[in-house]
Symmetry: C2
Subunit: 254 residues, 2 copies
Amino acid sequence: MIRIVIIGSGNVAQHLISAFNKSKNIEVIQVFSRKNDLDPCLFPSKKVISDITLLKDADLYIISVTDGAIAEVSENICFNNRLVVHTSGTTSMEILNDKNRKGVFYPLQTFTKGKEVDFNEIPICLETQNDEDYILLEKVAQSISKKAIKISSEQRKAIHVSAVFVCNFVNHLYQIGNEICTENNIPFEILYPLIEETASKIKNLSPVEAQTGPAKRNDTITINSHLNFLSNETYKEIYKLLTKSIIDTHVKEL
Amino acid sequence: MIRIVIIGSGNVAQHLISAFNKSKNIEVIQVFSRKNDLDPCLFPSKKVISDITLLKDADLYIISVTDGAIAEVSENICFNNRLVVHTSGTTSMEILNDKNRKGVFYPLQTFTKGKEVDFNEIPICLETQNDEDYILLEKVAQSISKKAIKISSEQRKAIHVSAVFVCNFVNHLYQIGNEICTENNIPFEILYPLIEETASKIKNLSPVEAQTGPAKRNDTITINSHLNFLSNETYKEIYKLLTKSIIDTHVKEL
């Protein structure tokens, strides 16, 4: 049995606790939550601490707090030479305090409060300083997911930047679509099949091959008619810039 | 049996022919293809014409050609007072020639050559000049899809602009993510679960609620580190503009 302490109680921490609860080889023996606001159905209150000096000894400490707080929290761990990892996509492994062995345990997914996700399908990006720790961390990752992957800090940064494009920015484009529909009394649901197909077809075609639409065709009549239609200046700018970028890509191609 | 002539042999036309082939109430009696390049497995060659003066009489003519060619093609139909519709998202119904009754039959989906789609789930946006024609057009739409919807030309334009954001532009963001991964020796597949979850979670949460990431948190350290990481100037501009737009939205919210 691998004994884990989780430090943090945000979105990612809660989803991890929930996944570890279902695993046979892992026991979460303690959770540190500054605000002490964890749902007792998720984790027994008596094992939650809000004073970091009460940390128990464990095989692995998973720090899942905001990026800016990782360094300080890792400094406050009152043990030496333990394996301490963070769950951040952007933060280097090196930021962790030198008194302990360092690692990263980054689940590549967007977590939303109250929405269950299938952890089994989530890639978990792993990094450690030494091979022995990697074996342990891989065991932990494999106990909740089919997809444990060795990823360097530099690669992890590239993944995180990509993730901002394909998740955070994509979601914002959904929001713009939603606003335009609502303003014109169209149920946003009408776009669900299109959204799904767009997300699904890149599994069979590269995104360059999958590109369609007025920008791809350099159809200036439609592009201008859309720009006239848009009243929000920022959305107009987004339309122009993405159109230009698509045109550039497909001209390059020829 | 409703007898249809399809004018055009592009992506949308081919997917329509394939869907009508499976319908019991519809017979596609003829297809006009300028290049005469239709796959004979999709439609029998002897019923394909490349001379528009050979058009047969039918209950419905579906014009599925590029937007710029719709007006001219509709003028060349050698019949009067027939029901003639186009399949365009952006073009007004009025552009069709006055000698025939006008309508629109716009399937709201992204069609890719060689990739089958489930037509049953595709919303079909319908518009006609008179109620009688609407009944016929709705019957045709319902023979291939569960989702026939009455949509005015003005609403259709709004839908098409939204569709550009949630489909064409989203696909371009996938492409940027793909490029960043490839440059850093990361398999793009690692992002599939994230892409899927992002597309799926807006069915339970509004896109505003579903927003996550550094821009939403106004996390300037991460944002600047990502901007430093990006070498492509256009992608840097896209990152800045979308980040600004997300920050504006969520500041407005407070």
